[in-house]
């Protein structure tokens, strides 16, 4: 079984400041990792994913996340946030194995960008 821990339920940050949203996971097998973003009254959208290769992955809107296998972490960062980044962010994992596996989500971190 897998579990995902997002340590911060809310992160307030001033506009143009950097931000880090933390995600740690636990799994007895190797996993794929994802970050999803949920804007108010909308469904979740994929922000970025780590499947293999370079441990640093980037999104088109300036977010990046680094997979750290030894620390079982996949923290999300952005060097300068905008008001439009205000949303709920979910870290998720799914096992790398044949067959259909459940995606396990963290409880989410609410990023609130302050003008």
């Amino acid at each position: 079984a897998q579990s995902v821990t997002q340590l911060d339920s809310q992160v307030p940050v001033f506009e143009e400041a950097p931000v880090e949203l933390r995600c740690n996971y636990s799994s007895s097998v190797s996993v794929y990792l994802f970050w999803y973003v949920q804007y108010p009254n909308q469904g979740l959208q994929l922000l970025l994913k780590y499947l293999s290769g370079s441990t640093l992955v980037e999104s088109i809107n300036g977010f990046e996340a680094e997979f750290n296998k030894s620390q079982t972490s996949f923290h999300l960062r952005k060097p300068s946030v905008h008001i439009s980044d205000t949303a709920e962010y979910f870290c998720a994992v799914t096992p790398i194995s044949g067959g259909y596996q459940k995606v396990t989500f963290g409880i989410g971190t609410k990023l609130q960008v302050i003008p």
């Binding site: 994802f34 979740l44 044949g98 259909y100």
Partner: protein, 112 residues
């Protein structure tokens, strides 16, 4: 064009009623899901279908019954609604196992 669409967006009903939520995806994906998001935003999978076949069935009361008439549609029927069923229900699809999920905009169910 909306990739994953679900209807209705809002559903307000009384305890004991039966209701359905419909979901359709036009992405050509083989796998579809129902997730429940509670008031604390926690997301939990309920069901998953691959090409009309049930592949994941979490511990969900049997008042909830999914139906997949074809691989582009996955509906959720709920009998004898209870107060605790109030939540946002999300439909999602994916290209296959371990692929990213594509979510609909959710159905906010309120049971009074």
């Amino acid at each position: 064009d909306t990739a994953v669409s679900q209807t209705p967006k809002y559903l307000v009903t009384q305890m004991g009623n039966d209701k359905s939520i419909k979901c359709e995806q036009n992405l050509g994906h083989d796998t579809m899901y129902w997730y429940k998001q509670d008031s604390k935003k926690f997301l939990k999978i309920m069901f998953s279908y691959n090409n009309k076949e049930l592949i994941i069935n979490e511990t969900v009361p049997n008042r909830f019954s999914p139906k997949s008439p074809d691989k582009a549609h996955l509906n959720l029927h709920i009998n004898s609604l209870e107060l605790g069923d109030s939540a946002v229900y999300f439909c999602a699809s994916s290209q296959g196992p371990n692929s990213p999920l594509h979510f609909g905009n959710g159905t906010r169910l309120t049971v009074t």
